[in-house]
Amino acid sequence: MSIPHGLLALLRHGPMYGYQLRAEFEHATGSTWPLNIGQVYSTLTRLERDGLIEPQATDDEGRQRYALTAAGVSTLGEWFAKPVTHADRPRDELAIKLALASTTPGLDVQAIVQTQRVATMRRLQDLTRLKQEPGDDAGLAWSLVLDHLRFSAEAELRWLDHCEGALLKAAASGRTRPPVVEDDAALESTEERAR
Protein backbone atom coordinates (compact mmCIF):
# COMPACT_ATOMS: atom_id res chain seq x y z
CA MET A 1 0.00 0.00 0.00
CA SER A 2 1.47 3.29 -1.07
CA ILE A 3 0.52 5.98 1.44
CA PRO A 4 2.65 8.69 -0.24
CA HIS A 5 0.91 8.17 -3.57
CA GLY A 6 -2.46 8.00 -1.87
CA LEU A 7 -1.90 11.39 -0.26
CA LEU A 8 -0.65 12.89 -3.53
CA ALA A 9 -3.83 11.65 -5.23
CA LEU A 10 -6.00 13.31 -2.58
CA LEU A 11 -4.09 16.60 -2.92
CA ARG A 12 -5.01 16.57 -6.61
CA HIS A 13 -8.42 17.83 -5.41
CA GLY A 14 -6.79 20.92 -3.88
CA PRO A 15 -4.73 21.91 -0.80
CA MET A 16 -5.52 20.06 2.43
CA TYR A 17 -4.18 19.73 5.95
CA GLY A 18 -3.20 16.55 7.79
CA TYR A 19 -6.43 15.58 9.52
CA GLN A 20 -8.38 16.31 6.38
CA LEU A 21 -6.10 13.99 4.36
CA ARG A 22 -6.52 11.20 6.85
CA ALA A 23 -10.31 11.56 6.84
CA GLU A 24 -10.47 11.65 3.02
CA PHE A 25 -8.20 8.62 2.72
CA GLU A 26 -10.34 6.56 5.08
CA HIS A 27 -13.51 7.72 3.40
CA ALA A 28 -12.26 6.61 -0.02
CA THR A 29 -11.15 3.19 1.18
CA GLY A 30 -13.98 2.48 3.61
CA SER A 31 -11.50 2.50 6.52
CA THR A 32 -9.98 -0.69 5.13
CA TRP A 33 -6.48 0.64 5.71
CA PRO A 34 -6.73 2.97 8.71
CA LEU A 35 -3.97 5.59 8.90
CA ASN A 36 -2.77 7.14 12.11
CA ILE A 37 -2.16 10.85 12.06
CA GLY A 38 1.55 10.36 12.81
CA GLN A 39 1.92 8.38 9.56
CA VAL A 40 0.21 11.20 7.70
CA TYR A 41 2.51 13.90 9.10
CA SER A 42 5.72 11.92 8.61
CA THR A 43 4.67 11.17 5.02
CA LEU A 44 3.91 14.86 4.40
CA THR A 45 7.36 15.78 5.74
CA ARG A 46 9.02 13.36 3.32
CA LEU A 47 6.92 14.51 0.37
CA GLU A 48 7.86 18.11 1.12
CA ARG A 49 11.55 17.19 1.41
CA ASP A 50 11.34 15.48 -1.99
CA GLY A 51 9.75 18.56 -3.51
CA LEU A 52 6.47 16.84 -4.39
CA ILE A 53 4.30 19.06 -2.19
CA GLU A 54 4.70 22.56 -0.73
CA PRO A 55 3.22 24.22 2.36
CA GLN A 56 0.54 26.85 1.83
CA ALA A 57 -0.44 29.78 4.01
CA THR A 58 -2.07 28.45 7.21
CA ASP A 59 -5.86 28.70 7.33
CA ASP A 60 -7.91 30.76 9.83
CA GLU A 61 -7.47 28.15 12.52
CA GLY A 62 -3.72 27.98 12.01
CA ARG A 63 -3.70 24.62 10.23
CA GLN A 64 -0.89 23.94 7.80
CA ARG A 65 -2.19 23.07 4.36
CA TYR A 66 -0.18 21.46 1.57
CA ALA A 67 -0.48 21.61 -2.23
CA LEU A 68 1.00 19.51 -5.01
CA THR A 69 4.02 20.86 -6.85
CA ALA A 70 4.54 20.30 -10.58
CA ALA A 71 6.91 17.45 -9.67
CA GLY A 72 4.21 16.01 -7.41
CA VAL A 73 1.69 16.07 -10.25
CA SER A 74 4.04 14.22 -12.57
CA THR A 75 5.02 11.62 -9.91
CA LEU A 76 1.34 10.97 -9.34
CA GLY A 77 0.75 10.60 -13.07
CA GLU A 78 3.56 8.04 -13.29
CA TRP A 79 2.09 6.06 -10.39
CA PHE A 80 -1.31 5.82 -12.03
CA ALA A 81 0.21 4.94 -15.40
CA LYS A 82 2.38 2.11 -14.08
CA PRO A 83 0.83 -1.31 -13.40
CA VAL A 84 1.32 -2.78 -9.94
CA THR A 85 3.79 -5.63 -10.33
CA HIS A 86 3.68 -8.80 -8.37
CA ALA A 87 6.91 -7.97 -6.55
CA ASP A 88 5.22 -4.92 -4.97
CA ARG A 89 2.87 -7.17 -3.03
CA PRO A 90 3.70 -8.93 0.19
CA ARG A 91 4.30 -12.67 0.17
CA ASP A 92 1.17 -14.68 0.55
CA GLU A 93 1.33 -16.54 3.84
CA LEU A 94 -1.47 -18.92 2.92
CA ALA A 95 0.21 -20.09 -0.30
CA ILE A 96 3.46 -20.67 1.58
CA LYS A 97 1.66 -22.46 4.40
CA LEU A 98 -0.13 -24.89 2.10
CA ALA A 99 2.92 -25.47 -0.07
CA LEU A 100 4.89 -26.45 3.01
CA ALA A 101 2.01 -28.40 4.53
CA SER A 102 1.82 -30.58 1.42
CA THR A 103 5.42 -31.68 1.96
CA THR A 104 5.42 -31.91 5.77
CA PRO A 105 4.88 -35.46 7.02
CA GLY A 106 2.08 -36.25 9.47
CA LEU A 107 -0.21 -33.37 8.56
CA ASP A 108 -3.85 -33.63 7.55
CA VAL A 109 -3.61 -31.13 4.72
CA GLN A 110 -7.26 -31.58 3.78
CA ALA A 111 -8.24 -30.46 7.29
CA ILE A 112 -6.00 -27.41 6.92
CA VAL A 113 -7.66 -26.61 3.59
CA GLN A 114 -11.14 -27.01 5.11
CA THR A 115 -10.34 -24.80 8.13
CA GLN A 116 -9.15 -22.10 5.77
CA ARG A 117 -12.17 -22.59 3.52
CA VAL A 118 -14.59 -21.96 6.39
CA ALA A 119 -12.66 -18.87 7.50
CA THR A 120 -12.50 -17.43 3.98
CA MET A 121 -16.16 -18.24 3.35
CA ARG A 122 -17.11 -16.38 6.54
CA ARG A 123 -15.12 -13.41 5.36
CA LEU A 124 -16.89 -13.52 1.99
CA GLN A 125 -20.24 -13.69 3.81
CA ASP A 126 -19.34 -10.58 5.80
CA LEU A 127 -18.15 -8.69 2.73
CA THR A 128 -21.32 -9.67 0.89
CA ARG A 129 -23.39 -8.44 3.79
CA LEU A 130 -21.56 -5.09 3.74
CA LYS A 131 -22.37 -4.83 0.05
CA GLN A 132 -26.06 -5.49 0.71
CA GLU A 133 -26.29 -2.66 3.17
CA PRO A 134 -27.99 0.26 1.46
CA GLY A 135 -27.46 3.96 2.06
CA ASP A 136 -23.70 3.68 1.81
CA ASP A 137 -22.37 7.23 1.66
CA ALA A 138 -18.76 6.45 0.81
CA GLY A 139 -19.91 5.84 -2.74
CA LEU A 140 -18.03 4.41 -5.66
CA ALA A 141 -14.50 4.41 -4.21
CA TRP A 142 -15.46 2.23 -1.24
CA SER A 143 -17.66 0.03 -3.34
CA LEU A 144 -14.70 -0.73 -5.64
CA VAL A 145 -12.46 -1.55 -2.68
CA LEU A 146 -15.18 -3.81 -1.31
CA ASP A 147 -15.52 -5.61 -4.65
CA HIS A 148 -11.76 -6.13 -4.69
CA LEU A 149 -11.91 -7.78 -1.27
CA ARG A 150 -14.86 -9.96 -2.34
CA PHE A 151 -13.20 -11.10 -5.55
CA SER A 152 -9.98 -11.88 -3.66
CA ALA A 153 -11.91 -14.03 -1.20
CA GLU A 154 -13.67 -15.79 -4.08
CA ALA A 155 -10.36 -16.44 -5.82
CA GLU A 156 -8.91 -17.84 -2.61
CA LEU A 157 -11.86 -20.25 -2.28
CA ARG A 158 -11.41 -21.39 -5.88
CA TRP A 159 -7.73 -21.94 -5.24
CA LEU A 160 -8.49 -23.95 -2.06
CA ASP A 161 -10.83 -26.21 -4.09
CA HIS A 162 -8.04 -26.62 -6.59
CA CYS A 163 -5.51 -27.47 -3.85
CA GLU A 164 -7.85 -30.07 -2.40
CA GLY A 165 -8.39 -31.67 -5.79
CA ALA A 166 -4.66 -31.76 -6.48
CA LEU A 167 -3.94 -33.25 -3.05
CA LEU A 168 -6.54 -36.00 -3.51
CA LYS A 169 -5.17 -36.80 -6.94
CA ALA A 170 -1.61 -36.92 -5.63
CA ALA A 171 -2.67 -39.14 -2.72
CA ALA A 172 -4.48 -41.50 -5.10
CA SER A 173 -1.41 -41.88 -7.31
CA GLY A 174 1.00 -42.05 -4.34
CA ARG A 175 2.84 -39.07 -5.77
CA THR A 176 3.46 -37.23 -2.49
CA ARG A 177 7.00 -36.25 -1.67
CA PRO A 178 8.69 -38.76 0.66
CA PRO A 179 9.29 -37.23 4.09
CA VAL A 180 12.80 -36.04 4.91
CA VAL A 181 13.84 -38.50 7.56
CA GLU A 182 15.97 -37.24 10.39
CA ASP A 183 15.97 -39.92 13.06
CA ASP A 184 16.53 -43.65 12.90
CA ALA A 185 13.14 -44.69 14.27
CA ALA A 186 11.31 -42.87 11.51
CA LEU A 187 13.80 -44.20 8.97
CA GLU A 188 13.12 -47.75 10.05
CA SER A 189 9.38 -47.34 9.82
CA THR A 190 9.79 -45.93 6.32
CA GLU A 191 11.88 -48.93 5.37
CA GLU A 192 9.30 -51.27 6.80
CA ARG A 193 6.65 -49.65 4.70
CA ALA A 194 8.87 -49.97 1.65
CA ARG A 195 9.05 -53.73 2.21
Binding site: Q114, R117, M121, R123, L124, D126, R129, L130, Q132
Partner: protein, 237 residues
Protein backbone atom coordinates in the same frame (compact mmCIF):
# COMPACT_ATOMS: atom_id res chain seq x y z
CA UNK B 1 -40.62 -24.83 14.49
CA UNK B 2 -38.17 -25.20 11.63
CA UNK B 3 -39.32 -25.09 8.02
CA UNK B 4 -37.06 -28.05 7.27
CA UNK B 5 -35.50 -30.70 9.49
CA UNK B 6 -33.33 -33.54 8.29
CA UNK B 7 -32.30 -35.83 11.10
CA UNK B 8 -29.67 -38.58 10.63
CA UNK B 9 -30.75 -39.10 7.06
CA UNK B 10 -29.30 -41.93 4.97
CA UNK B 11 -30.06 -42.42 1.31
CA UNK B 12 -28.70 -45.58 -0.20
CA UNK B 13 -29.15 -46.40 -3.87
CA UNK B 14 -28.98 -50.07 -4.82
CA UNK B 15 -28.31 -53.09 -2.63
CA UNK B 16 -25.48 -55.26 -1.37
CA UNK B 17 -22.12 -54.72 -3.04
CA UNK B 18 -23.63 -52.28 -5.53
CA UNK B 19 -25.05 -50.03 -2.77
CA UNK B 20 -24.12 -46.37 -3.08
CA UNK B 21 -24.42 -44.14 -0.03
CA UNK B 22 -25.63 -40.82 -1.44
CA UNK B 23 -26.21 -39.41 2.06
CA UNK B 24 -24.81 -40.67 5.36
CA UNK B 25 -26.33 -39.59 8.65
CA UNK B 26 -26.99 -36.07 7.41
CA UNK B 27 -28.59 -33.61 9.85
CA UNK B 28 -29.61 -30.15 8.65
CA UNK B 29 -32.12 -27.68 10.07
CA UNK B 30 -33.43 -24.61 8.26
CA UNK B 31 -35.43 -22.16 10.35
CA UNK B 32 -38.16 -19.90 9.00
CA UNK B 33 -36.54 -16.81 7.51
CA UNK B 34 -33.17 -18.50 7.19
CA UNK B 35 -31.12 -18.86 4.00
CA UNK B 36 -28.85 -21.89 4.14
CA UNK B 37 -26.44 -22.69 1.32
CA UNK B 38 -25.01 -26.13 0.68
CA UNK B 39 -21.68 -26.41 -1.11
CA UNK B 40 -19.74 -29.45 -2.14
CA UNK B 41 -18.09 -31.11 -5.13
CA UNK B 42 -20.26 -32.99 -7.61
CA UNK B 43 -21.25 -36.35 -6.21
CA UNK B 44 -21.25 -35.06 -2.63
CA UNK B 45 -25.02 -35.54 -2.30
CA UNK B 46 -26.34 -32.02 -2.95
CA UNK B 47 -29.05 -33.05 -5.43
CA UNK B 48 -30.11 -36.02 -3.31
CA UNK B 49 -30.50 -33.64 -0.37
CA UNK B 50 -32.78 -31.32 -2.36
CA UNK B 51 -34.84 -34.23 -3.69
CA UNK B 52 -35.38 -35.56 -0.17
CA UNK B 53 -36.22 -32.13 1.25
CA UNK B 54 -38.77 -31.63 -1.51
CA UNK B 55 -40.35 -35.04 -1.08
CA UNK B 56 -39.29 -36.10 -4.60
CA UNK B 57 -37.29 -38.98 -3.14
CA UNK B 58 -37.56 -40.89 0.12
CA UNK B 59 -34.87 -41.41 2.76
CA UNK B 60 -33.58 -44.93 3.38
CA UNK B 61 -33.27 -44.08 7.08
CA UNK B 62 -33.76 -41.05 9.28
CA UNK B 63 -36.36 -38.33 9.39
CA UNK B 64 -37.29 -35.54 6.94
CA UNK B 65 -39.79 -32.95 8.18
CA UNK B 66 -41.24 -29.97 6.32
CA UNK B 67 -43.00 -27.52 8.66
CA UNK B 68 -42.94 -30.23 11.31
CA UNK B 69 -44.67 -32.83 9.10
CA UNK B 70 -42.81 -36.14 8.79
CA UNK B 71 -42.67 -36.84 5.04
CA UNK B 72 -42.15 -40.56 5.61
CA UNK B 73 -45.62 -40.81 7.19
CA UNK B 74 -47.45 -39.34 4.19
CA UNK B 75 -49.20 -41.24 1.42
CA UNK B 76 -48.08 -40.36 -2.12
CA UNK B 77 -51.20 -38.23 -2.50
CA UNK B 78 -50.62 -36.33 0.77
CA UNK B 79 -46.98 -35.88 -0.17
CA UNK B 80 -47.90 -34.38 -3.54
CA UNK B 81 -50.29 -32.00 -1.80
CA UNK B 82 -47.66 -30.89 0.71
CA UNK B 83 -45.19 -30.35 -2.13
CA UNK B 84 -47.60 -28.08 -3.97
CA UNK B 85 -48.60 -26.17 -0.84
CA UNK B 86 -45.45 -25.72 1.16
CA UNK B 87 -42.49 -26.11 -1.15
CA UNK B 88 -41.32 -23.93 -4.03
CA UNK B 89 -38.58 -24.93 -6.46
CA UNK B 90 -36.12 -22.81 -8.42
CA UNK B 91 -33.91 -24.62 -10.89
CA UNK B 92 -31.04 -23.62 -13.11
CA UNK B 93 -33.12 -24.37 -16.18
CA UNK B 94 -36.16 -22.34 -15.39
CA UNK B 95 -38.85 -24.75 -16.55
CA UNK B 96 -41.20 -21.94 -17.52
CA UNK B 97 -43.90 -23.02 -19.93
CA UNK B 98 -43.19 -21.10 -23.15
CA UNK B 99 -46.80 -20.78 -24.30
CA UNK B 100 -48.00 -19.26 -21.01
CA UNK B 101 -47.52 -15.65 -19.92
CA UNK B 102 -45.54 -14.77 -16.78
CA UNK B 103 -48.74 -14.49 -14.71
CA UNK B 104 -50.09 -17.78 -16.08
CA UNK B 105 -46.83 -19.57 -15.29
CA UNK B 106 -46.92 -18.25 -11.73
CA UNK B 107 -50.62 -19.03 -11.13
CA UNK B 108 -50.39 -22.53 -12.63
CA UNK B 109 -49.39 -24.33 -9.40
CA UNK B 110 -52.28 -22.65 -7.59
CA UNK B 111 -54.79 -23.58 -10.26
CA UNK B 112 -53.51 -27.17 -10.28
CA UNK B 113 -54.20 -27.11 -6.59
CA UNK B 114 -57.84 -26.14 -7.14
CA UNK B 115 -57.62 -22.40 -6.50
CA UNK B 116 -60.08 -20.55 -8.75
CA UNK B 117 -58.75 -18.61 -11.68
CA UNK B 118 -59.41 -15.12 -10.38
CA UNK B 119 -57.83 -15.45 -6.89
CA UNK B 120 -54.98 -17.44 -8.46
CA UNK B 121 -54.34 -14.60 -10.90
CA UNK B 122 -54.41 -12.07 -8.05
CA UNK B 123 -51.85 -14.10 -6.05
CA UNK B 124 -49.68 -14.43 -9.17
CA UNK B 125 -49.74 -10.68 -9.75
CA UNK B 126 -48.80 -10.06 -6.12
CA UNK B 127 -45.90 -12.52 -6.39
CA UNK B 128 -44.71 -10.90 -9.63
CA UNK B 129 -44.89 -7.48 -8.02
CA UNK B 130 -42.70 -8.77 -5.19
CA UNK B 131 -39.98 -9.67 -7.69
CA UNK B 132 -40.38 -6.34 -9.48
CA UNK B 133 -42.16 -7.66 -12.57
CA UNK B 134 -45.70 -6.31 -12.09
CA UNK B 135 -45.68 -4.64 -15.48
CA UNK B 136 -44.51 -7.77 -17.34
CA UNK B 137 -47.31 -10.06 -16.11
CA UNK B 138 -48.71 -10.62 -19.60
CA UNK B 139 -45.42 -11.24 -21.39
CA UNK B 140 -44.37 -14.61 -22.74
CA UNK B 141 -41.06 -16.01 -21.44
CA UNK B 142 -39.48 -15.65 -24.90
CA UNK B 143 -40.01 -11.89 -24.72
CA UNK B 144 -38.13 -11.55 -21.43
CA UNK B 145 -34.43 -11.50 -20.53
CA UNK B 146 -32.81 -14.43 -18.71
CA UNK B 147 -32.84 -12.48 -15.46
CA UNK B 148 -36.52 -11.60 -15.84
CA UNK B 149 -37.37 -15.23 -16.56
CA UNK B 150 -35.53 -16.33 -13.44
CA UNK B 151 -37.51 -13.77 -11.44
CA UNK B 152 -40.72 -15.27 -12.84
CA UNK B 153 -39.46 -18.70 -11.73
CA UNK B 154 -38.85 -17.30 -8.23
CA UNK B 155 -42.31 -15.71 -8.16
CA UNK B 156 -43.74 -19.12 -9.09
CA UNK B 157 -41.73 -20.71 -6.27
CA UNK B 158 -43.06 -18.33 -3.63
CA UNK B 159 -46.65 -17.82 -4.80
CA UNK B 160 -49.28 -18.74 -2.22
CA UNK B 161 -48.27 -19.73 1.28
CA UNK B 162 -44.98 -21.51 0.63
CA UNK B 163 -42.76 -21.87 3.66
CA UNK B 164 -39.75 -23.48 1.97
CA UNK B 165 -37.87 -22.66 -1.22
CA UNK B 166 -35.48 -25.25 -2.64
CA UNK B 167 -33.06 -23.68 -5.08
CA UNK B 168 -30.72 -25.74 -7.26
CA UNK B 169 -28.01 -23.54 -8.83
CA UNK B 170 -30.62 -20.81 -9.44
CA UNK B 171 -27.95 -18.41 -10.71
CA UNK B 172 -26.15 -20.94 -12.88
CA UNK B 173 -27.17 -19.64 -16.28
CA UNK B 174 -27.06 -15.94 -15.41
CA UNK B 175 -24.34 -13.32 -15.66
CA UNK B 176 -22.88 -12.19 -12.36
CA UNK B 177 -24.95 -9.04 -11.97
CA UNK B 178 -28.25 -10.78 -12.74
CA UNK B 179 -27.18 -13.63 -10.48
CA UNK B 180 -26.69 -11.11 -7.72
CA UNK B 181 -30.19 -9.72 -8.28
CA UNK B 182 -31.59 -13.23 -7.94
CA UNK B 183 -29.72 -13.72 -4.66
CA UNK B 184 -31.00 -10.38 -3.43
CA UNK B 185 -34.54 -11.55 -4.21
CA UNK B 186 -34.09 -14.82 -2.36
CA UNK B 187 -32.75 -12.84 0.60
CA UNK B 188 -35.80 -10.60 0.50
CA UNK B 189 -38.07 -13.66 0.50
CA UNK B 190 -36.23 -14.94 3.57
CA UNK B 191 -36.66 -11.59 5.27
CA UNK B 192 -40.39 -12.09 4.64
CA UNK B 193 -40.22 -15.36 6.60
CA UNK B 194 -39.61 -18.01 3.94
CA UNK B 195 -36.88 -20.60 4.55
CA UNK B 196 -34.51 -21.27 1.67
CA UNK B 197 -32.17 -24.16 1.04
CA UNK B 198 -29.77 -23.24 -1.75
CA UNK B 199 -27.43 -25.63 -3.50
CA UNK B 200 -24.60 -23.98 -5.38
CA UNK B 201 -20.96 -24.36 -6.32
CA UNK B 202 -20.57 -20.59 -6.58
CA UNK B 203 -18.97 -19.13 -3.45
CA UNK B 204 -20.01 -15.59 -4.35
CA UNK B 205 -23.66 -16.60 -4.27
CA UNK B 206 -23.37 -18.95 -1.31
CA UNK B 207 -21.96 -15.96 0.58
CA UNK B 208 -25.44 -14.42 0.61
CA UNK B 209 -26.57 -17.18 2.96
CA UNK B 210 -26.84 -16.97 6.74
CA UNK B 211 -25.05 -20.26 7.02
CA UNK B 212 -23.08 -22.45 4.62
CA UNK B 213 -22.92 -26.22 5.01
CA UNK B 214 -20.08 -28.11 3.32
CA UNK B 215 -21.03 -31.53 2.03
CA UNK B 216 -18.50 -34.33 1.33
CA UNK B 217 -19.38 -37.87 0.35
CA UNK B 218 -22.93 -37.48 1.61
CA UNK B 219 -22.06 -36.06 5.02
CA UNK B 220 -21.82 -32.51 6.37
CA UNK B 221 -18.15 -31.94 7.16
CA UNK B 222 -18.35 -28.38 8.37
CA UNK B 223 -20.43 -25.24 8.40
CA UNK B 224 -19.78 -21.54 8.82
CA UNK B 225 -22.05 -21.33 11.86
CA UNK B 226 -23.79 -18.19 12.97
CA UNK B 227 -22.64 -14.88 11.60
CA UNK B 228 -19.81 -13.16 13.40
CA UNK B 229 -20.23 -9.48 14.25
CA UNK B 230 -19.71 -7.16 11.29
CA UNK B 231 -17.30 -5.01 13.29
CA UNK B 232 -14.74 -7.81 13.41
CA UNK B 233 -14.32 -7.40 9.67
CA UNK B 234 -12.66 -4.09 9.10
CA UNK B 235 -10.24 -4.30 11.96
CA UNK B 236 -9.04 -7.61 10.53
CA UNK B 237 -8.59 -6.27 6.99
Amino acid sequence: MNALDLLHVDRIHGHGNAAVHALRGLTIHVAAGELVAVMGPSGSGKSTLLNLAGGLDRATAGSVKVDGVELGDLSPKELARLRRHKVGYVFQDLNLIPSLTAAENVSLPLELDGVRRRPARASAEAALAEVGLAELADRLPADMSGGQQQRVAIARAVVGERSLILADEPTGALDSETGEQVMRLLRDRCAAGVATLLVTHDAAHAAWADRIVFLRDGAAVDDTGARPAAESLLTGA
